[in-house]
């Protein structure tokens, strides 16, 4: 008998609510809700991609916003030159992110630990400066996008189409992640996080596995950037700023590192708390900063991680009870 666990209930509830958001936004009517939750979904997609290398692979990338920026610029630069076909933009995003991910990943993965953190940050910053210095494409001010991605059967100009595209991609990404981390590939990756030397001793070419995970993650994050550019109608170097990379890590940790559903929960929790804090005060970052420190110091399993822990606890208690009644004790 399959018993419904609390974490599964919460996950199902979140997905149901997400499906209903456009209905609420048009009935209420609160168009801002649709934009806001679209943003949550875009960041969730980026956080899911980061979770693959951070949560499962143990690679602390502090430059993941780079790929969001590349995806956004793929839309911006192509639209500037009159290419608005979504398929072309998607293709360019995938190829560029895979290439940049493969090159920077191959260099960064020569190091581990602190140096990896700093190098990924440095590479993201390098591209940030590159786009800042491209004055013909707006430089520091960014580039506004006049025409959204057109995928033939649908266009991302419609907020609802954009929303459901983002939601479909998030759900698909969650499904693929679930399959990926339980597959042989995911097992090797998780093994590398716990003890890379032992994985090498067992004969796995760990660098190849880690680099593949890094490239997959880069490409997925680039797709999130493509959506983000369509959502805001604008792209700027700020999309690949180090603060965005930091926020993505916070989302992953807040939701539950190394859990499939965690990043989605994390981006919901972080962006909603940001909205609440912004409504309270202009100086919201002065509250958010210490809050992050507090979460790190005290609650590092993350929201979804704690739900899983709770399920585990209930499961153990149930098994204990079953075992006791089987022995005939009360």
């Amino acid at each position: 008998m399959m018993r419904w666990r609390i974490s599964a209930w919460v996950a199902a509830l979140v997905v149901l609510l997400l499906l209903a958001v456009p209905l609420y936004a048009s009935l209420a009517p609160e168009p801002y809700a649709l934009t806001f939750v679209s943003r949550v979904l875009v960041f969730a997609l980026a956080a899911i991609s980061l979770n693959l290398i951070l949560g499962y692979g143990g690679m602390v990338s502090f430059g993941h916003a780079l790929y969001m920026g590349l995806g956004a610029y793929a839309v911006g630069l192509l639209a500037q030159h009159g290419v608005t076909s979504g398929w072309v933009q998607l293709g360019v995003t995938v190829v560029v992110c895979a290439l940049v991910g493969a090159v920077t990943g191959a260099i960064s993965l020569r190091t581990t630990g602190v140096a990896f953190v700093m190098i990924t940050l440095a590479f993201a910053q390098m591209f940030y400066y590159l786009f800042v210095s491209l004055k013909q494409y707006g430089g520091d001010d960014g580039l506004s996008i006049s025409a959204r991605s057109d995928f033939g059967i649908f266009t991302l100009a419609s907020p609802i189409a954009l929303y459901y595209t983002a939601l479909a991609l998030v759900l698909a990404a969650l499904f693929v992640m679930k399959r990926l981390v339980d597959a042989r590939f995911g097992m090797v990756l998780r093994g590398c996080r716990i003890n890379e030397r032992r994985m090498q001793a067992m004969g796995f070419p760990t660098l190849r596995y880690k680099l593949s995970a890094y490239v997959i993650s880069s490409v997925l994050c680039g797709v999130a950037g493509l959506l983000y550019a369509n959502l805001t109608g604008y792209t700027s170097p700020a999309y690949m700023a180090w603060t965005v990379s930091g926020e993505l890590i916070v989302m992953v940790v807040l939701g539950g590192m190394g859990t499939v559903f965690g990043p989605l929960v994390g981006s919901l929790v972080l962006l909603i708390s940001e909205e609440i804090l912004k409504a309270l005060t202009d100086r919201w970052m002065m509250i958010l900063g210490p809050l992050i420190v507090l979460v790190v110091l005290t609650a590092r399993r993350g929201v979804y991680g704690y739900l899983l822990d709770w399920d585990g606890y209930r499961e153990r208690r149930r098994l204990l009870k079953d075992a006791r009644s089987a022995e005939g004790r009360p």
Partner: protein, 306 residues
């Protein structure tokens, strides 16, 4: 390109290099000894600059400003170490990165709240304004003063680490903190002192760069990222490596920005060179870092026996 322009750019590179060294020394010590990634080091630099600028505006004395900047950031560093950092030494790097990321958000917003979002300009002190003649090349006295202070700091670090008892403890702590603690050394206070020393150097860098850069919220992060490149190139934990690679990075960055656009103009048309020059120049130190990593992943001057 004239010879004097070349000299001036080299001196500018040296000046950026010593500023980077002041930042990287603390960063690399904390990283090498406590194994702690302090992203908030740039915030300490920023707060040092603000402390000094505020004191300078009140007292009109650069010496008082210097004292306030250095002591203020050391005290702030001590507080940060006791309240946050010390709890994270045993944690993994991810937690340290996240917590110090939270601190950066806090300090940037704090600076914006207290001193406003507009950049704050600090005047060059009277005695150091003007230029000085160096073998026929006229150079800003204040920038020369930065170079002198930076070299003195480097000498001081060398003497402190290699010739004093505290330095001996620092070296011992970096190779085996548990044994040092077992021998009866108060390792907690030692750690706090090293952290505060690093913060004081960051504050000094902030103070010295106040009059040549604008003091504003978020000024610490670009410097922090460059300082990180410095310590990666130099080899994590090595103060000597940080010194050499800070000078190399300072000179490469400055020379690239000054000469690369000119160089490109030789064989590209003017408008392309104008656009590509600054873009390529800003990438130069990153490319250099990538090249060093590809050849020597441990950095150019790695710490031995670790």
């Amino acid at each position: 390109m004239s010879f004097s322009l070349f000299c001036i750019q080299m001196l500018n590179g040296l000046q950026l290099g010593v500023l980077l060294f002041m930042l990287s020394a603390g960063l690399t010590l904390v990283l090498g000894i406590m194994n702690f990634v302090n992203l908030a080091h740039g915030s300490l630099y920023m707060m040092g600059a603000y402390f000094a600028a505020a004191a300078y505006a009140r007292s009109d004395s650069f010496l008082i400003a210097a004292l306030v900047g250095v002591v203020g950031s050391a005290a702030l560093g001590f507080a940060v170490e006791r309240i946050v950092a010390a709890r994270l030494y045993a944690r993994d790097h991810l937690d340290q990165v996240l917590a110090t990321f939270g601190l950066i958000l806090f300090f940037n917003e704090l600076a914006r709240t207290i001193w406003g979002a507009t950049p704050y300009y600090m005047n060059v002190p009277q005695a150091l304004s003007g230029t000085i003649d160096l073998l026929g090349v006229s150079y800003s006295t204040y920038r020369l003063a930065i170079i002198v202070v930076g070299l003195l700091v480097a000498l001081g670090c060398y003497l402190l680490i290699n010739k004093t008892k505290v330095g001996m403890l620092i070296r011992a702590g970096s190779s085996n903190p548990t044994i040092v603690a077992a021998l009866g050394v108060n390792i907690k206070m030692l750690n706090a002192a090293i952290f505060a020393l690093g913060a004081a150097l960051a504050g000094l860098a902030g103070l010295m760069s106040g009059p040549i850069l604008s003091v504003q919220p978020g000024m610490g992060e670009p410097m922090l990222i460059t300082a990180m490149i410095v310590i990666i190139i130099g080899g994590i934990g090595s103060v000597r490596g940080a010194f050499y690679s800070a000078l190399i990075v300072g000179v490469i960055d400055t020379a690239g920005r000054a000469f690369l656009p000119l160089l490109l103009r030789e064989f590209l048309d003017r408008s392309t060179a104008q656009a590509a020059g600054p873009a390529l120049a800003s990438l130069l130190i990153f490319v250099f870092m990538a090249a060093v990593l590809a050849l020597k992943p441990q950095g150019l001057f790695p710490v031995k026996n670790q």
